[in-house]
């Protein structure tokens, strides 16, 4: 974590935006642009994003209170849900009316808030499913092993490398259902990487993961950026957001209410009111008055 003196501080990307910082500010090199994206469920406006741009080859955090529309926005961007109106484009190509699987093939891969490991497939099969270039996945070709055997071995090697990186290589022949919750998160992320994505969208990658594993997940996310990918993630752990995000977008009630550098955004009174609360760095016990904290040494 950020307080850990041994972990090297990540190199932050700066100067991502052009012009004054405000919600919907233009980026120098946006990978994803959304305009007037609106999604209503009956009378409830879940998402109403006027304009937002995601900077390329940077780590962007999407934060906001529960029910702010973060996951719905994810679903809209990745084709898992269709907005009532709006346009959005990835690498300059419009994604309106493009189905989810085609969006994924274009290089925009997402993970899910509730992890979707394919339980009764082995860890290795989970990984191999991520490959996009296996000809044997076509019905006709699947009947002739000589068409796909060689490619399958290549995919196997690639999957093994990734599994080693995510420390799941010992589990490769186990059913994914036998993995713990945290390991499933790792598997889902590793599987997403099998597709060689350009933009990885992670929905709460750290939820329910113990601190040691969080640290290794952080390293993996930073590794993605180093490898030239763009990351957009939803997260509630503000320490983590501050530590690795280059840019933060804050949503509340379906709208983008603030944007900017993580440290600046978290000082924004609107963000503190809508999301963080004014006691974000105080122990919860002290906030509720159940325990009295000893005075911190530095205050003496």
């Amino acid at each position: 974590m950020s307080s850990n003196p041994t972990s090297s501080s990540p190199v932050k990307s700066t100067g991502l935006h052009t012009g004054a910082i405000k919600p919907g500010v233009a980026k120098k090199d946006p990978i994803l642009i959304a305009d007037h994206v609106k999604r209503q469920f009956g009378g409830l406006v879940a998402v109403d994003v006027e304009h937002v741009e995601i900077p390329r080859n940077a780590i962007t955090a999407l934060i906001g209170p529960n029910g702010a529309g973060k996951t719905t926005f994810f679903n809209l961007l990745t084709g898992f849900d269709t907005p009532n109106e709006g346009t959005w484009s990835f690498n300059g190509k419009s994604l309106a009316k493009v189905s989810a699987f085609k969006v994924a093939r274009m290089g925009l891969i997402r993970t899910f808030q509730l992890t979707k490991a394919l339980g009764l497939l082995t860890v290795m099969d989970n990984m191999k499913l991520g490959s996009t270039s296996q000809p044997g996945e076509r019905l006709g070709a699947s009947l002739f092993p000589f068409v796909w055997k060689k490619k399958d071995r290549e995919i196997d090697d690639k999957a093994m490398d990734l599994l080693k990186r995510f420390k799941l290589d010992a589990k490769k022949d186990d059913f994914a259902a036998s993995l713990s919750g945290g390991q499933r998160k790792l598997l889902e992320m590793a599987r997403a990487l099998m597709t060689d994505p350009e933009l990885v969208m992670l929905d709460e990658p750290m939820a329910g993961v113990n601190p040691a594993l969080t640290e290794s997940l952080l390293e993996h996310i930073l590794g993605l950026k180093k490898a030239g990918m763009t990351v957009l993630f939803v997260e509630h752990d503000m320490h983590m957001v501050r530590h690795i995000a280059d840019w933060v977008i804050v949503m509340a009630e379906g709208r983008v209410v603030a944007e900017g550098d993580p440290h600046e955004v978290m000082k924004n009174p609107a963000v503190i009111d809508a999301y963080l609360g004014s006691h974000q760095d105080t122990d919860l016990g002290a906030v509720t008055g159940r325990i009295t904290l000893p005075k911190l040494p530095k205050e003496k």
């Binding site: 898992f80 989810a100 394919l118 497939l121 699947s142 009947l143 059913f175 597709t195």
Partner: protein, 338 residues
């Protein structure tokens, strides 16, 4: 009570054309449910279309029997597409409801006297395996399935498989079709294609997020499984007349029982399950009336012949509770709570 006789006639079901037909349909169901996760409750409809398509192809379109078989297969493909296009985008349980209803629609249309001139209504269709002796057949005497039999007349084999040339020909044709179908399914489910459909069974959104066209894969599964089911129907039509009273919902449930008995997510389970199920059915169906006749059961012989269904139902409950993976399935598959 002739116990040896009962045993021998039950054992003849090991290689009975009907058992082969049901094994084919169960294999189709295994691809649908065990591998693809599609809850198809209308397999009887696919079988009916295979059988009727074949019979109508011969009787009304005057096709040779081997081309008429493709009419049956084609009908099953069209049925799968009609079922799949509206329902495969919905959650799995909707497919179950729609398939059970669609199979009943098929059966009732075949039964309806409105199309009696075409489907034979309650009498069904007959005479299509012979040389083509029906009045409506313009190609009279062209030669049907029976005329293609190269085996000379006579009785072959040994008890309990002492049968005439026609039954042996049916067995050979049926087992060949079954062997090819099993090989194709085995090849498919052990390929990258099979990996994708098993992934869809587990969680289709996850597979979609990896860039696979889930709808197309589910449609392929529905069509291929449906065609294998239609082959089962064809097999029944090769061996006897077609009648809509065979393709009832309870047939679908028998197929499901055989599937769960053998193991849903296995290739050879459907075969083993079908054999065990229909041999046992035949055995109990003969044993109980014989016991009643001998005064060992407090029923009339007609009542006793129905007791087997009670036993089958009870066995299915026990099976699902205590061995849900079936005889051939891996226990590991069910160790985990989803």
């Amino acid at each position: 009570m002739d116990f040896v006789g009962i045993l021998l006639s039950s054992l003849s079901f090991l290689l009975d054309p009907t058992t082969i037909a049901y094994a084919l349909a169960t294999l189709g169901l295994a691809l649908h449910f065990g591998f693809g996760g599609l809850l198809n409750m209308g397999m009887a409809g696919f079988m009916a279309l295979g059988a009727y398509g074949y019979a109508i192809g011969i009787l009304y379109f005057g096709l040779p029997w081997y081309l008429a078989a493709f009419v049956g297969i084609g009908a099953a493909i069209v049925f799968a597409l009609i079922l799949g296009i509206p329902t495969l985008r919905l959650r799995g349980d909707y497919l179950a409801i729609v398939t059970i209803a669609a199979a009943e629609i098929v059966r009732l249309l075949l039964l309806s006297s409105a199309f009696g001139w075409f489907t034979g209504s309650a009498d069904g269709l007959s005479g299509f395996n012979g040389p083509g002796g029906t009045v409506t057949n313009p190609h009279e005497g062209a030669g049907g399935f029976d005329q293609s039999n190269p085996i000379p007349d006579g009785t072959y084999g040994f008890v309990p498989f002492l049968d005439n040339e026609r039954t042996w020909y049916l067995r050979i044709v049926g087992l060949s079709i079954l062997a090819i179908a099993i090989f194709v399914v085995w090849r498919l489910v052990n390929s990258p294609w099979g990996r994708v459909i098993k992934g869809i069974r587990e969680d289709e959104d996850a597979v979609r997020s990896l860039g696979k066209n889930v709808f197309a894969y589910k449609m392929q599964v529905l069509v291929i499984g449906g065609v294998i089911g239609a082959l089962g129907g064809l097999m029944l039509a090769f061996s006897t007349n077609v009648n809509s009273s065979v393709y009832v919902t309870s047939l679908t449930f028998f197929l499901w029982t055989a599937l769960l008995l053998g193991g849903a997510a296995t290739v050879f389970g459907p075969l083993a399950g079908s054999i065990i199920f229909w041999v046992l059915q035949a055995f109990l169906g003969l044993l109980f009336p014989a016991l009643a006749k001998a005064g060992l059961m407090p029923f009339t012989t007609i009542q006793a012949s129905q007791v087997k269904f009670v036993i089958v139902g009870f066995a299915l409950v026990l099976l699902v509770v205590f061995r849900p993976q079936g005889l051939f399935g891996s226990k590991k598959e069910l160790t985990f709570v989803k």
